[in-house]
């Protein structure tokens, strides 16, 4: 083969390059594909309304749990409302909420909107720290002037005492 270099060093280099190239190509291809399809965008309720998120599209919805909105049905279904300063969205979730889920607390729900505009959550995240506000929520709320500071005490609702 004429393109095969003569010097041993150059040949080694070319061999290594030939080994690295397909792996890198595979990795880049997968990464680009993954970044297009398997990441989820984060919205607050107001942003979700503006963006007209398509039903069924997997997104994250973050905001404060509106006080007095939590309804627990027998059988494990929970309904609540996540709100920011401008808008709110109904959320329904089946399962056990995180221990730190409280009214007034910032949370992030993962899931999608159904055709009626109700957010069906597959997972609800509240960090394991009483002073915690998910960063995206904090940021979005700061923009809207709803921010009360990292140290703001989480309003407690219905005693969690056994």
């Amino acid at each position: 083969m004429s393109f095969w270099p003569k010097s041993r060093k150059a040949r080694t280099r070319l061999t290594v390059l030939l080994a690295v190239a397909p792996v890198l190509a595979l990795a880049v291809g997968l990464a680009l594909f993954g970044l297009r399809d398997s990441i989820s965008l984060f919205y607050t309720p107001a942003q979700a309304q503006e963006a007209h998120v398509k039903p069924g599209r997997k997104v994250q919805l973050g905001g404060l749990v509106q006080r007095g909105s939590v309804v627990k049905h027998p059988g494990g279904d929970v309904d609540f409302v996540v709100a920011d300063h401008k808008a709110s969205a109904k959320v329904t979730y089946h399962g056990d909420l995180p221990d730190l889920f409280r009214e007034g607390q910032g949370i992030v729900a993962e899931g999608s909107f159904d055709p009626n505009g109700v957010f069906v959550a597959k997972q609800v995240l509240a960090k394991h720290d009483e002073r915690y506000m998910p960063r995206d929520v904090a940021k979005a709320l700061k923009k809207q002037g709803e921010w009360r500071g990292e140290g703001a005490s989480a309003p407690s609702y219905g005693s969690q005492k056994p």
Binding site: R8, K9, T12, T15, V16, A19, V20, V23, L24, L26, A27, L30, A31, F33, G34, L35, D37, S38, I39, S40, L41, F42, Q60, K72, P74, G75, G76, H94, G95, D96, D99, L100, V108, E110, L125, K127, H128, D129, E130, P134, R135, D136, K139, A140, S156, Q160, K161, P162
Partner: protein, 660 residues
């Protein structure tokens, strides 16, 4: 008084680290044994001083001295003693002090036990290690003093986050940090060799034991963390691809790559530049991990002790250390001797491929971890990158790596015999494929990908077994001959095989558990039942218990199998910690030989007919034991290799004759 002594010792250790850097550097440059010896003394003294400071902090926690800000913020008089002590490293300041303790500890170890290193390399390495010490100790002294006092002393502390009050998590940071910071030694050795302009086989021989030690400890640390997430968070999972987890996983991957490339450099003198690069990269990823975890720039569900204000400082420190390292590398790398040649089919090639795949995988994990930051900087959009991305990108790369893994140890150095290896391995391949097909056939519901994962696990496990059988000539030679060979086989070989087998065990567990986990959740009143796979769960009793610093609601769940035989009585708890008003779930786990029955008690709610009911969430986690057993085997394999005389001492001595 003791606290002041500790604070003084901390400042002293900073001064001693400055002295260590200066004395060692000058001692190395002038080839002065006296100055280099003084540098070693300073290294040991710096470690002793940090140890005193750390002991003072632990003392403050043990006696609940709330005049110390750190204690007031993270301790409580009612906390059990173990967690008072663990609280010392449960906070931002305390964890950075632990980092410094380990960092100076490794420096002292190099000073005290590194006789087999060439004097100059050792002096330079200690100088670099000292400089790292100066960087991090200065941070501890000026920006995050763990022993700072409060002007107004509170009566009671704010307590440690209850989720952290757990034995596995008490041990998690020390192991993790011993691993993270262990790579600092490799970094120092690498920089020292680059300063000297000599990165060769002898150098790789000294890099290997430190890499092995750091990597094994990091393996234990990550496994403890995953185990904690598994049984404490109550989500039934053990890995979430959370930024904090990735932060610890990236140095592990690079460490694994380094372990292998260092072998090539040691045995064959090849790839010296690449090995030096990985050595620098491993510690850079450790520092990146510390920065990501401690600064809170990324949204994580379980990052603790976060302090965004000091993140910038950590970033600057990381930039300094990594920048200096890679700059020197860029200057020196072109002049490095490329070393031994090898053919396309050889053990070197297999290891090069392993390195390409491991470092590409690390890059992919890095991209996924930092992508939210990149995206936010680019178009202000907030995104989250979760498990789907990593499953899609990371897993295929690992599948490739696992596919070639068993061939590596069977190939000869320099020029391998592909046909010979194929002749040996086809049996393993056939058996693994058959077992995968059987799994596809009998395990319901049918899952092709997971069955493939099982086949891959059996392939790794079988490959490891075959390799050892091949080396011992098992069944091909008389038993006595095999036994003699087994005794003669170096421990390094046993360790490597055990680690590879451990990886196979892990892949089996991870594939099976992820694909065939069974979950059930239902609100149960007293004496209600729900089915969970092949089991029936009945909530038979519920009561309250009072713990040392919490109140708990405890349920009794009777688990019987389909035949009605009692399998176990699970007693999950839901704990309320009045300090901080936090509730946690205490999962009840019924261990079967390989599987776990995993029961979580939810909160009380109104059930049917107004009766109180509790949400009982339960999982069958099949083969989950293997997930934690596998990494443990890998760590033990690392420890066995480390105990190999050739790795530890002997060869180092012999090599010095060659070098100096």
């Amino acid at each position: 008084m003791i606290t002041e002594l500790g604070a003084f010792a901390l400042v002293l250790s900073l001064m001693l680290s400055v002295a260590q850097t200066g004395l060692s550097a000058v001692g190395g440059a002038r080839r002065s044994p006296v100055l280099a010896g003084a540098g070693r003394g300073a290294a040991v003294a710096a470690f002793v001083a940090v140890a005193v400071a750390f002991a003072a902090l632990i003392h403050a926690f043990v006696v609940s001295d709330f005049s110390v800000a750190n204690v007031a913020g993270n301790s409580h008089t009612a906390k059990p003693m173990l967690y008072k002590v663990a609280g010392a490293w449960g906070s931002h300041e305390g964890s950075m002090l632990l980092w410094c303790l380990v960092l100076t500890g490794y420096g002292a170890a190099m000073a005290a036990f590194g006789e087999s290193l060439p004097p100059r390399l050792r002096a330079y390495a200690l100088a670099v290690q000292g400089a790292l010490g100066v960087l991090f100790l200065a941070y501890a002294v000026f920006a995050s003093n763990p022993l700072a006092r409060l002007l107004e002393v509170p009566v009671e502390g704010r307590s440690l986050n209850p989720l952290l009050q757990d034995p596995a998590l008490a041990a998690h940071p020390p192991f993790l940090y011993s691993g993270y910071v262990g790579f600092s030694v490799v970094y120092s050795l690498s920089l020292a060799a680059l300063i000297e302009g000599r990165v060769d086989a002898a150098w790789a021989r000294w890099v290997r034991p430190w890499t092995l030690a750091a990597w094994s400890l990091l393996t234990v640390g990550i496994t403890l963390g995953a185990f904690w997430a598994y049984y404490e968070l109550g989500w039934g999972g053990w890995w979430f691809w959370d930024p904090v987890e990735n932060a610890s996983f990236m140095p592990w991957l690079i460490g694994a790559a380094l372990l292998h490339s260092a072998i090539v450099t040691e045995k064959r003198g090849a790839l010296p530049g690449w090995t030096a690069f990985l050595a620098l990269a491993a510690f850079t990823f450790s520092m990146l991990g510390a920065f990501l975890v401690r600064s809170g720039v990324l949204t994580s569900v379980h990052a603790f002790a976060v302090d965004p204000t000091r993140g910038v400082l950590l970033l600057i420190m990381m930039g300094l250390a990594a920048g200096a390292g890679f700059l020197l590398f860029a200057i020196r790398a072109p002049s490095l001797n490329p070393g031994g040649q090898f053919r396309a089919v050889s053990r070197e090639s297999a290891i090069v491929l392993n390195n390409i795949l491991l470092s590409t995988a690390t890059a992919v994990v890095l991209l996924g971890t930092l992508y939210p930051l990149i995206r936010e900087a680019m178009d202000g959009e907030a995104v989250s990158v979760g498990a789907p991305f990593f499953n899609l990108t990371f897993t295929p790369l690992m599948v490739l790596a696992f596919a070639i893994l068993p061939t590596g140890p069977l190939l000869a150095w320099k020029r391998g015999d592909a046909r010979g290896v194929a002749r040996k391995l086809w049996v393993v391949l056939a058996v693994a494929a058959l077992l995968g097909l059987i799994a596809y056939g009998i395990v319901q519901p049918r899952k092709a990908l997971a069955s493939g994962g099982l086949a891959l696990g059996f392939w790794l496990l079988g490959g490891a077994l075959l390799e050892i059988a091949d080396r011992l000539k098992l069944f091909r030679a008389p038993a006595a001959e095999s036994f003699r060979r087994a005794r003669g086989l170096p421990r390094g070989a046993w360790g490597a095989t055990l680690a590879h087998a451990g990886l196979g065990v892990f892949v089996l567990g991870a594939s099976f558990e992820t694909a065939w986990r069974v979950e059930a959740a239902q609100a149960l009143s007293l004496n209600d039942s729900q089915t969970l796979g092949a089991y029936v769960l009945t909530l038979t009793d519920i009561g309250t218990v009072e713990g040392p610093n919490y109140l708990a609601e405890r349920g009794v769940v009777r688990i019987v199998d389909k035949a009605g035989r009692l399998v176990c009585r699970a007693e999950p708890e839901r704990r309320f910690y009045p300090t901080g008003a936090q509730t946690t779930s205490e999962v009840a786990i019924c261990p079967r030989p390989l599987d776990d029955l995993y029961v979580v008690l939810g909160e009380r709610r109104a059930g049917e007919g107004g009766k109180p009911a509790w949400l009982v969430r339960a999982y069958v986690n099949p083969w989950v034991r293997l997930i934690f057993l596998g990494p443990l085997l890998m760590a033990i394999g690392g420890a066995i290799s480390l105990s190999d005389r050739r790795v530890r001492l002997g060869v180092g001595r012999r090599a010095r004759e060659v070098v100096s």
